[in-house]
Structure formats: C-alpha cells, structure tokens
C-alpha cells in the first residue's frame, strides 16, 4: 500500500504566510507566545519586522489586530483555537466582527487531536462560536494543499475570516493538478446513491476511507468536503440531500453548533432528511495520543463506519 504523505495544517499556515508575505507588504503576523507551535515562527524568520509577538494576551492581540486593520494592513492573528475563539470571543465579536474589520484569525491546535495537553487545550467549540458572529467566514481545511489555498483566499477576501488548523499531521488528499479552492464552495469527492457524508477538516480523509469500507458492505456514500463552514454551500448540501436522502456530518468538533448544526439549519428548512451528526458528543476531551483519542471518540474511518451502520 502506498504511504500517504502527511502534513499538519498548522505547518501549511506558516508556509502559506511566508508565500503571501513575499508578495504582499501589507501582511502583519501577530502571535501570542506560540509562534513555534502555530508555525508563524516560519514567517518570523524571514520577515522579523512584520511579526509581532503580543505575549500571552490573546484578548489584547485581537484588539491590536483590529487597530492594524483600520489602517489598511492585513493582520493574521494567531493562537490556539481555544484562546483565539474561546478566550478572546468577545474581542473578536466586538472589535473585529461588529466593525467588519479585515482581520484574519489563524487558529491552530483545534479539536481533540491536540492530544496530550488534554481537555483545557482541546477546543471543540470554536466553529460554533465563530460561526455565530455575523459576517465571519469560517474555514476548516482538510489538508496541506487546501490549508495553503485557504490562507491565500482569506487574504484576498475583504472581511474577517476564521481559519481552523490542526496540530496532527493530516494525510494530503488534494494534491492534484486540477485542484482549486473556492471560498464558500463545497467539494464532492465521491459519488454515492445511498447517503451523503459531509465532512470537514481532518475528518475528510477519514470519511473517504470510511466510504470505501461502507461500499464493500453495500452502502454507497456520496462524500462532500465542506472546507468553508460559513458561508455554507447550501446549494450543494440541499441537492445532495435531495438526491441521496439520509445525510451524515462528521467533524472534529462538538456536534453542538458546528458543521452538523450548520447543515441541519439548512436542511430542516429546505430539504428535511434523516441526519446523523458525528463529532464530539457534548463532552470534554482528555489527555492521550491524538490517534488514540480520535479512535476513542469514534472519529476514525472505522468509528465513522460503525456509527453510520448503526444508524442507517
């Protein structure tokens, strides 16, 4: 079997910032004492004058980003998802969202795949929080290729964007010559007649693997990658639901307020079908190796298959 190349999307973030920084003088990267972990350190090495360490003060960092944005430059404020979306939620809402400032938030270490640090650092609520802010774009890329494209698309987009990245190395699945990233557009990765599985981020690869196993068992799943959770590709989601009926969502995030909820919101109004939301089931995470945690919480291909079969 071919070994799949794996890259953590936080690395993609750091690398994309460097690529953008080379061409664009208006990028300022902010961090809160986590440059080595969020990978903005990669940018810092090449553009030290445009990398600002705010110290361990995420709320202030978001305000600084807002201030910088008012002057026409484009700040990328970086921290772990827990602190960027969680701790600084109100600053993001009131200082960035309400004035609709052109701030990009690069949030790494999202979800339980943070691993050993445990529940305090495993943010399973960030999509819910960020998507509740009017005008906020929320992107959760599935691999290195998509993450880099997402960072560049975020730079081009005028308005606040929340970018969600992971710590765990993720299999590269979009390394194709015809790959394009369009903000707000979902991607159908596999056709199937029996059900649709909609996944985001790290779960896209797992769902593709799960679909293969389900196929062996006679269930043909259509697989959709939703990298942009807000604005959601409603047309694609609705048409899939109308075509296949049953819909499953899979995310490394709480089932409350994330991708599953976003899909539910659309389908219950436009194309009601039976739905299963796979994700973190309203519990806190815990310490452990990321891969073992994903297995324990049912977020591997095998776990996803099991949940789908029990429900279908």
């Amino acid at each position: 079997m071919l070994e799949v190349k794996k890259i953590a999307t936080r690395d993609s973030y750091g690398n994309a910032l460097v690529e953008l920084g080379k061409e664009n003088d208006d990028i300022v990267v902010l961090d809160a004492d986590l440059a080595a972990a969020t990978k903005t350190g990669t940018f810092k090495k090449i553009f030290p004058e445009r990398h600002i360490d705010c110290g361990i003060a995420e709320c202030n960092m978001m305000g600084i980003a807002a201030g910088i944005a008012t002057t026409g430059r484009i700040p990328f404020a970086s921290s772990f998802a827990m602190f960027a979306a969680g701790r600084a939620f109100e600053q993001v809402r009131n200082s960035i969202g309400y004035p609709y400032l052109n701030v990009k938030i690069g949030a790494t270490h999202a979800g339980i795949s943070v691993g050993e640090d445990g529940a305090t650092h495993q943010c399973n609520e960030d999509i819910a929080l960020m998507r509740s802010i009017p005008g906020m774009v929320v992107i959760n890329p599935s691999d290195d290729v998509e993450a880099k494209a997402a960072v560049k698309a975020a730079y081009k987009h005028k308005g606040p964007v929340y970018l969600r990245f992971g710590r765990l190395a993720a299999p590269v699945i979009n390394d194709k010559s015809d790959y394009t990233f369009e903000l707000g557009k979902g991607v159908t990765l596999r056709e199937g007649r029996d059900l649709t599985i909609i996944a985001t981020g790290l779960m896209v690869y797992e769902v593709l693997e799960a679909a293969k196993i389900l196929s062996v068992g006679g269930l043909e799943a259509k697989v959709i990658n939703i990298h942009t959770i807000k604005p959601l590709d409603e047309e694609l989601v609705v048409s899939a639901a109308r075509t296949t009926g049953k819909v499953v969502t899979v995310e490394e995030h709480s089932v409350i307020g994330g991708l599953g909820s976003a899909v539910c919101d659309v389908l219950c109004a436009k194309a009601p079908v039976m739905m299963l939301k796979i994700g973190i089931q309203d519990v806190f995470g815990e310490s452990g190796p990321a891969v073992k945690l994903l297995r324990k919480y049912g977020l591997t291909a095998a776990g996803i298959c099991k949940s789908v079969k029990e429900w279908y």
């Binding site: 709320c59 600084i64 201030g67 910088i68 008012t70 002057t71 009131n94 004035p99």
Partner: protein
C-alpha cells in the same frame, strides 16, 4: 486657539451632549460631560484632522475606549463639522447612524468602534503599532474611564505599548472618580493610577484639573516631547461637569434628564456660556 475660544466650544459641546441624551431618553451624560473639555481640546487644538476628509491617511487617530460616552464624542464631531448638529437628536433612535456606542462603519470621524470596556485601548495600540511598522508619523489618542481600567485587557494593552515603546500613543484617563455602582475606590480601587502606568513603562502626566484648558494644554504639550515610551495623561475631572445637579452625582452616569431637568441643565449651560467672555 485661545483658552476662551476652547471654553466656548466646550460649552457648546456640552449643550450637544445634554440635548442628545435628552432626545434619546437614555445615554451617559456624566462621563460625556466630565470629558467634554478633553474632547474639545483633542478635536479643536491637538489633533491633525480634517472633517472634510475624515479618512485622510496621515490623520491623527482617536479611539474612545470608554465608548459609552459616545454623546461627548458625537457632540464634538458635530461641532467640528463631521456631520450635521441636528443629527445629534437622533442619538440611539431606531434607524439612526448615531448608535448608543461608536460605530465606525457609519459615523464620519469615528476611527474605531467601541463600547465593550477595555477593548478600545488595544485597537489604539494596534493603530500606533501600524504607524511604527510602516514609518508613518501620525499620533494616536485614546480615552479611558477610571472605572474602565478595572478591565484586565487595559493592562495587557499597556504592557504591550510600554514594551514596544509606542511613543506615538497617548492614553488619557478621565479620572472622574465615579462608576455605575459608586466611587471607583469603593467599588474596586484602581488607585494609584499614575504609578500603575509608570510601572508599565509609560511617561505619566498628572493633570490636577482635567476640565481646565490651560492644564490640558501643558499636559498635551509635554506629551509631544516624549520619546521612547507611550504617554498616559491622568486627568482629574468632575463627573457631570457643567450641570449643577449632575456634578459628582453617581446617578447621572447613565440616565437622561426629564423635561424639567433638561430645562435646568440648558439654563446652566446658557449661563455658563454668557459668563465666558
């Protein structure tokens, strides 16, 4: 501009504050009035701004961190000519661009939205940082409440400004001594304010009477000469300044005058205006 001229303008700014809050039947007159002279000094003497070109790139910036005193900011902006004075009477009305707290999206002259306490200073720091990073010469001013500095974010921002030596930043504390629940030192004392900012590597200037233009002038002139560190001006003021029955009265933090009180307030300001000559 002479002190007398500034006093006249400040009195008109106060008339605007009282009228707006009366028309809104809500709002925050106390802290708007305590800072009316600071607003006036900034917009009519200190800052490089042009009401005909509110977004000009090299303008000085102002962030009202104590955003609830929007009536004070709006009144001075209207007086300066950013928008019609009559619009002040739409404050807080449904459909008005003059929101209860400053909204930069729709109000000419507002450099940053604010209102949730503790946040404006960070934006001001970000603006000052941007000027430094891109070698621009404008200055950034932000006005804080003495109750507001109970917010932890103030000190995150202060630590950053001191650490990054933002000498293009002037933080002004409107030290009127009162917050919603009572005297600041009784609710949760922020004192000593000056020593706190000194400890955060600010050049601190104490102003004994922040409602006195001569003293404000001395302070802001001193601030201009400071290099290598940000400036904090701690201005002792009187909450409700200029309205006899509002001065130093905590209940006037956030309520509007009724008809009778409004007439009395306008009478106070009329007399004050006549006395300035």
């Amino acid at each position: 501009m002479t002190t007398l001229e500034l006093q006249k303008i400040a009195n008109e700014v106060r008339i605007g504050i009282v009228s707006a809050v009366y028309a809104a039947k809500a709002g925050h007159p106390g802290g708007s009035l305590s800072a009316a002279d600071i607003f006036t000094y900034l917009y009519f003497e200190e800052m490089n701004i042009d009401p005909k070109d509110p977004k000009k790139a090299d303008r000085d910036r102002f962030v009202l961190s104590k955003g609830h005193t929007a009536p004070g900011l709006y009144s001075v902006l209207a007086k300066k000519g950013y928008f019609p004075k009559e619009d002040l009477l739409t404050l807080r009305h449904l459909g008005s661009y003059l929101q209860g707290h400053p909204d930069m999206k729709y109000i000419p002259g507002v450099d940053m939205s604010s209102g949730s306490l503790g946040q404006g200073i960070s934006a001001a720091v970000g603006i000052a940082l941007s000027a430094k990073l891109y070698h621009e010469n404008y200055r950034v001013y932000t006005l804080l409440g003495d109750g507001e500095i109970q917010e932890g974010q103030i000190w995150e921002a202060a630590m950053f400004a001191g650490s990054y030596k933002l000498d293009n930043l002037v933080v002004i504390v409107d030290n009127n001594g009162l917050q919603i629940d009572g005297a600041v030192e009784e609710v949760c004392s922020p004192y000593p304010i000056d020593k706190k900012f000194e400890a955060f590597n600010f050049h601190v200037i104490n102003v004994a009477d922040g409602n006195d233009f001569e003293q404000l002038r001395v302070a802001f002139e001193e601030a201009k000469g400071v290099t290598g560190m940000p400036v904090a001006i701690i201005a002792k003021t009187i909450k409700g300044k200029g309205i006899s029955f509002m001065e130093n009265r905590v209940e006037w933090h956030g309520k509007a005058p009724n008809d009778e009180e409004y007439l009395k307030a306008m009478e106070d300001l009329k007399k004050a205006g006549e006395a300035i000559c």
